[in-house]
């Protein structure tokens, strides 16, 4: 009975070449980040000053940095950290934002108006400025940066969720289930939540990459991952003095970020319905 009232889902999701290519790129990067360091003969933090600033070779596939650490291993470990942090931050923002947005929209009335106003204003403060302010308050570190990002990040998901819930509330099938006597909780859980989370999830896939880029920027400035922990941003920063001489240090982390971005972008593009003039 419940299925009869389900919202019709767009059936035209197709795997296109784009999604497949994008998916492959992302999978390769993640796989490398997870498995690479395990397979690598070089511990990420093992220094060997005698072998410093070596160009890419068969021994060190992407060369070494200024204190002789293997750049490839280090970058892959850095990618792990960036990925985990990026996903964690986005997941937290998605969860918090969706919950708040849904509740507020479902309740309606003054609560909705008040919270929406606050959210709109909170979004006004530029993202990075808030993150920097959080770092100023809590001190440097990946956690501080993460907290700062969630503090701003949830608002977008709240907006998305709110829009979906408002649309759904009027949707006939909600009224239908109400007339059947379902309790509010049941409506929320089995019908509203799946439909509400979906657009947020779509946004989140691109947001993870954006989050990773912001984290990298913060680490580059010295506010993110603190030594000896190094994420992609800190490695790029460490490689900056050697951009001309030892270009490989800064390049690989950047390439990883770009590859992830392009991959996720392609997946996103491939999944969207192709709108044609008809």
């Amino acid at each position: 009975m419940v299925d009869l009232i389900s919202r019709p889902r767009a059936r035209t999701r197709r795997w296109t070449v784009q999604s497949a290519v994008g998916g492959t790129i992302v999978a390769v990067v993640i796989l490398a980040a997870v498995v690479g360091p395990l397979l690598s003969p070089w511990p990420p933090n093992a220094t060997d000053v005698l072998a410093s600033l070596e160009p890419p070779s068969l021994r060190h596939w992407m060369g070494t940095d200024s204190v002789g650490r293997d750049v490839l291993t280090r970058s892959l470990v850095g990618a792990q950290i960036s990925l985990v942090a990026g996903v964690a931050v986005t997941a937290a923002a998605l969860a918090i934002g969706t919950v708040i947005g849904s509740i507020v929209a479902y309740a309606g009335g003054w609560l909705d108006a008040a919270v929406s106003r606050v959210v709109d204003t909170a979004i006004a403060i530029p993202f990075l400025v808030v993150v920097l302010a959080t770092v100023a308050i809590l001190g440097p570190g990946t956690v501080s940066v993460g907290v700062g990002m969630v503090v701003v990040g949830w608002a977008v998901y709240a907006r998305i969720a709110r829009a979906e819930v408002l649309a759904l509330r009027e949707h006939e099938f909600i009224m239908a289930t109400r007339s059947l006597g379902y309790t509010s909780a049941r409506i929320l859980l089995r019908h509203v939540v799946p439909n509400v989370v979906r657009p947020g999830l779509t946004f989140a896939t691109m947001d993870v990459v954006a989050a990773m880029v912001v984290l990298a920027a913060m680490s580059y400035l010295g506010f993110g991952a603190q030594p000896p922990v190094a994420d992609l941003g800190s490695i790029i920063a460490a490689g900056q003095p050697f951009l001309l001489s030892a270009w490989w240090i800064s390049t690989l982390p950047a390439v990883i970020l770009i590859a992830l971005g392009v991959g996720v972008g392609l997946i996103d593009d491939g999944f969207s319905l192709r709108r044609k003039v008809s």
């Binding site: 530029p126 993202f127 990075l128 580059y220 941003g233 770009i258 972008g265 392609l266 003039v277």
Partner: protein
């Protein structure tokens, strides 16, 4: 209409107020004693007490809030103990490069984003469209600071076309020192402008009034110029207001990369040295700019779209 303008202005004022309160809370949120953190381990207790009183931190919170708000309105931004200057002077000395950089970056992003977005829409489905979009996604995924680094390396050091650090005032000086960071800044946004404009152009080109125009024998050029563009621009304007926020954030990082003595690098230094008052003022400024941009965007939309004007009149 006048009523709408007044209400909209009031809304902005309200937003600014909320912003000010949120910024005020920054100082309050610091775990531990902010003054001690600011002045460092080695400051004498007497000095710490003096500064605390100067900053009014021994008063109850609401009194502090009131003092804070009244001082902002009268333009008294306080002093920076760490930089040893009144904050107002400090900010004023560093506003120029940041303001120029942001505008420069915004203009570049809008111009190139629009051209590419419209081209991609008109050649939708072709190789040109795909390559433009993939390029845009790739560039969007590049950290702005890395792009800045690469630009400074290639165009600055290797080719010697631009200086890679510092800021020179004046028209020529600004062009020389700010072009590279402006490009780096703009690149991350071109993708957003491009996608939005392309999307709305495609939507407009698929509407029935465009089809009706084709049925009347209008050339594609006329349709794009006189009908499509106007309708496609409106959603893009609101996006730009949002994007401005990211631009401001980006300048903080890029000023560091290129050694530009602007508000962005000031903010970074203030964060490093835990100078909360300065952080607060810059955050307030940044937020105010975005709020004002939102106001301008709303007014522009009303100016361009008669349906919005009608809704305002009757809503």
């Amino acid at each position: 209409m006048i009523l709408y303008l007044l209400r909209r202005l009031l809304l902005s004022v309200g937003q600014l107020l909320v912003l000010a309160i949120l910024v005020f809370l920054i100082l309050q949120a610091v775990p531990g004693d902010p003054v001690k953190i600011m002045l460092g381990e080695r400051a004498s207790p007497a000095y710490v007490e003096t500064v605390r009183q100067q900053m009014g931190l021994d008063e109850p919170v609401l009194t502090q809030l009131w003092m804070y708000l009244t001082r902002i309105v009268t333009g008294n931004l306080g002093n920076s103990v760490i930089f040893g200057q009144p904050i107002g002077t400090l900010i004023a000395s560093r506003v120029e490069p940041s303001a120029i950089l942001i505008t420069y970056g915004l203009v570049l992003a809008i111009v190139f984003g629009s051209v590419l977005g419209i081209t991609a829409a008109l050649r939708s489905g072709t190789v040109a469209d795909y390559s433009i979009r993939i390029l845009a996604t790739a560039i969007f995924s590049m950290p702005a600071f890395w792009v800045g680094l690469v630009l400074s390396l290639v165009l600055g050091i290797q080719l010697g076309l631009f200086p890679v650090s510092g800021y020179e005032p004046g028209l020529v000086g600004a062009f020389r020192t700010l072009t590279l960071p402006a490009i780096a800044l703009a690149l991350s946004l071109i993708a957003v402008v491009l996608r939005t404009l392309r999307g709305s152009m495609l939507r407009v080109l698929g509407t029935e009034y465009v089809e009706a125009a084709r049925a009347r024998g209008y050339t594609e050029g006329r349709i794009v110029r006189r009908h499509a563009l106007r309708n496609a621009v409106t959603p893009t304007i609101s996006i730009i207001a949002v994007v401005l926020g990211f631009l401001i954030g980006g300048t903080a990082v890029l000023e560091q990369v290129f050694g530009i003595p602007g508000l962005g690098s000031l903010l970074v230094q203030a964060v490093e040295r835990r100078d909360y008052p300065v952080v607060q003022v810059i955050a307030l400024l940044a937020g105010a700019v975005v709020i004002l941009a939102g106001l301008v965007a709303d007014l522009l939309q009303a100016a361009l779209d008669p349906r919005v004007r009608s809704a305002i009149r009757h809503g």
